[in-house]
């Protein structure tokens, strides 16, 4: 036993030829956020505080699809969502449709702690944010040039798709559009943590799906889909929201452990490799016993983990680099 923590910056079709300048800052950021979480656990911070702290940090870093750096809706705006869950009490909080709140995960925590509700969204959530005095900014703060570009490419791809259907083009290379940064599907950041007493917590945050319809809600704020924690484990998922919702991914990892007696790793692998379509899902999870697992069926997942006995790892694809 001992503490354990894992962090992710999104699972998706991350090309192995991702240029160094797109890869290195993210690896560095994961390493940095992991370190923040480790230090907090070492100073006996409760896991609920740790996951919030780490996800706040990830939200503030513009390289990931959450907070600043969120992908854009089809209207070129940002709509952020997040959720957080405490394993012991199974209390949870979630928010959607945020446009000015700097740290969605913190607002989710306030919903959990300061309201009789679990989930607030859009105008109601923004109003609550102002009542709580959380940090808010002009929504342009969250928009980065990379995401403006991603949206443009996504819209063009849709147009190409339509053209392709209208006039059969024998040009397969058209479908293989060169993603400017090879990661237009990147979704979500998350953190799971357990302390040496087996207290568990999970938090997830995102800008959602690039070019999504305004008002689209994904798996991230849906308890049991993108986020879950109970007395057995804490899970944060990432990938194609619609698949994660349908697969109740985060809950299923815990359910397999509880009802079928699977280990954390067996449960995570079962959900990711047997119960969800390839190319759609990744997740991080920790167990009350201090184990950690990071599992994905996509090309890659930006991730990192560390345990009290000194193990730590930061990686993108499936050949892990041990730090």
């Amino acid at each position: 036993m001992g503490w354990a923590i894992a962090v992710h910056g999104g699972a998706g079709d991350i090309s192995r030829s991702l240029p160094h300048d797109r890869r290195q800052p993210r690896e560095e950021a994961i390493r940095h956020c992991l370190q923040i979480g480790v230090e907090a656990l070492q100073s006996n911070s409760p896991p609920l505080d740790v996951v919030e702290l780490v996800v706040r940090e990830l939200e503030n870093i513009p390289h990931f699809n959450a907070g600043r750096g969120s992908v854009l809706t089809s209207e070129g705006t940002v709509e952020m969502e997040a959720s957080i869950m405490d394993g012991n009490t199974m209390r949870c909080g979630a928010v959607s449709g945020l446009t000015t709140v700097v740290n969605a995960v913190s607002l989710a925590r306030l919903v959990m702690e300061k309201t009789p509700h679990i989930y607030l969204a859009f105008d109601g959530a923004e109003q609550f944010a102002r009542e709580q005095g959380v940090e808010i900014v002009d929504s342009s703060h969250f928009i980065t040039p990379e995401n403006v570009e991603r949206l443009k490419l996504a819209k063009e791809a849709n147009r190409v798709q339509i053209d392709y259907n209208a006039q059969p083009i024998q040009n397969d290379t058209k479908k293989e559009k060169p993603c400017a940064n090879g990661d237009s599907q990147i979704g979500t950041v998350g953190c799971v943590a357990v302390d040496s007493n087996g207290n568990l917590a999970s938090a997830t945050s995102t800008g959602g799906l690039v070019n999504k319809m305004a008002g689209r809600i994904g798996d991230t704020p849906v308890i049991g889909a993108g986020t879950y924690a109970n007395e057995l484990c804490a899970v944060s998922a990432t990938g194609k929201g619609e698949s994660i919702i349908r697969g109740t991914v985060a809950r299923d990892v815990a359910a397999l452990m509880e009802f079928k007696g699977l280990s954390l790793k067996e449960a995570a692998d079962c959900v990711v490799h047997e119960r969800t379509p390839k190319g759609t899902v990744g997740l991080i999870a920790v167990s009350a016993a201090g184990e950690v697992v990071m599992s994905f069926n996509t090309t890659g997942m930006f991730r990192g983990c560390a345990t009290e006995d000194g193990y730590s790892e930061v990686a993108i694809w499936s050949d892990a680099q041990v730090e």
Binding site: A121, A214, R251
Partner: protein, 326 residues
């Protein structure tokens, strides 16, 4: 296969002092919905179509808390939400924050079938509704005088509840009449409006579906989302079963109640009624909720741990039951 089966609900947590004529009205509506579902199933309408049909009927009737007759937000407006799930491929659709859409469950279905997403909310959902050409009306259409009265009582009850918590022995100032031992979602049962309507169906082909729709919690904060539109919490359907829940939203979400019924059937091999009983007894802690469920084998079951649940169920072999209390 075991033939078709259907269950409907109009919410869990009922005022024990509900006047008899109101109880009668509720039973008549449930009976009417069951009969509608039964004819549809006898004409081989697929489960997904039947659940939508029945929930539309429940939304349109002002009696229960969905569509017209929805509970009001703290601002006196209506914000409706719903979700629907089709067992065979676990396709799903959900909506929240609707203010003008006459039948939220139908919009949820359109999200499932006509959009690339699973869940749309607030103005994005309203825009989608207009693109799809569904019937829209003014927000006032959904508001009933009864619920305006209930909102006022809820606000008063919250004020009294708040006073009661001041540790200065203010018992004399608390309206003792409102002091009911039964509470749900923080409101005295006489003021709490059961949250939801729902329908679960298995058709003759063994396909399960589930649908849930609500106006949400009386006096809720604007923007509050409950369990009803959350797949896995208020609604769930897969190859094995279809489930729709109602009651205290927080408890249902924490328990991921609808998914839980299916998970214990799948992972522990429990039968439908066992699974329902297990979840109601062990997954809710202090929370109060109820649910209806059907299995692919043509069974129907329900359970609740609160004071009453408006419900009805029927199976192809002629069984039919409508009830409110234990």
């Amino acid at each position: 296969m075991g033939g078709w089966a259907i269950a409907v609900h109009g919410g869990a947590g009922v005022d024990p002092n509900l006047p008899l004529h109101r109880q009668e009205e509720a039973k008549q509506l449930l009976t009417r919905c069951l009969n509608l579902g039964i004819s549809a199933l006898n004409s081989n309408l697929p489960a997904i179509d039947v659940v939508e049909l029945i929930v539309r009927e429940l939304e349109t009737d002002p009696l229960f808390n969905s569509g017209r007759g929805s509970a009001l937000t703290e601002k006196g407006t209506v914000e409706m939400e719903a979700s629907i799930m089709d067992g065979p491929k676990r396709r799903c659709g959900a909506v929240s924050g609707l203010t003008t859409v006459k039948n939220p469950i139908s919009l949820a279905r359109l999200v499932m079938e006509k959009s690339p997403h699973s869940y749309l909310a607030f103005s994005g959902a309203e825009d989608f509704a207009r693109q799809q050409g569904v019937e829209v009306v003014d927000n006032e259409y959904f508001i009933t005088p009864e619920n305006v009265g209930m909102l006022k009582l809820a606000k008063e009850a919250n004020a009294i509840l708040f006073d009661y918590r001041i540790p200065n022995g203010c018992e004399t100032t608390c309206g003792a009449n409102v002091e009911s031992p039964l509470h749900m979602n923080g409101l005295p049962i006489s003021v709490y409006a059961p949250e939801t309507v729902g329908c679960v169906v298995v058709d003759r082909e063994g396909r399960c579906a589930a649908a849930t729709s609500t106006g949400g919690l009386m006096n809720k904060m604007a923007g509050r989302i409950g369990d009803s539109p959350l797949i896995g919490s208020g609604t769930y359907a897969c190859d094995l079963c279809g489930v729709s829940c109602t009651g205290e939203g927080e408890a249902i979400i924490r328990a991921t109640l609808a998914r839980e019924v299916a998970a214990v059937m799948e992972y522990k091999g429990l039968g439908l009624q066992e699974a329902v009983d297990f979840c109601i007894k062990t997954r809710l802690d202090d929370g109060k909720a109820g649910l209806i469920a059907v299995s692919k084998n043509g069974e129907v079951a329900y359970g609740f741990n609160c004071n009453g649940m408006f419900r009805g169920c029927a199976t192809e072999n002629g069984f039919m039951e409508v009830g409110i209390w234990e």
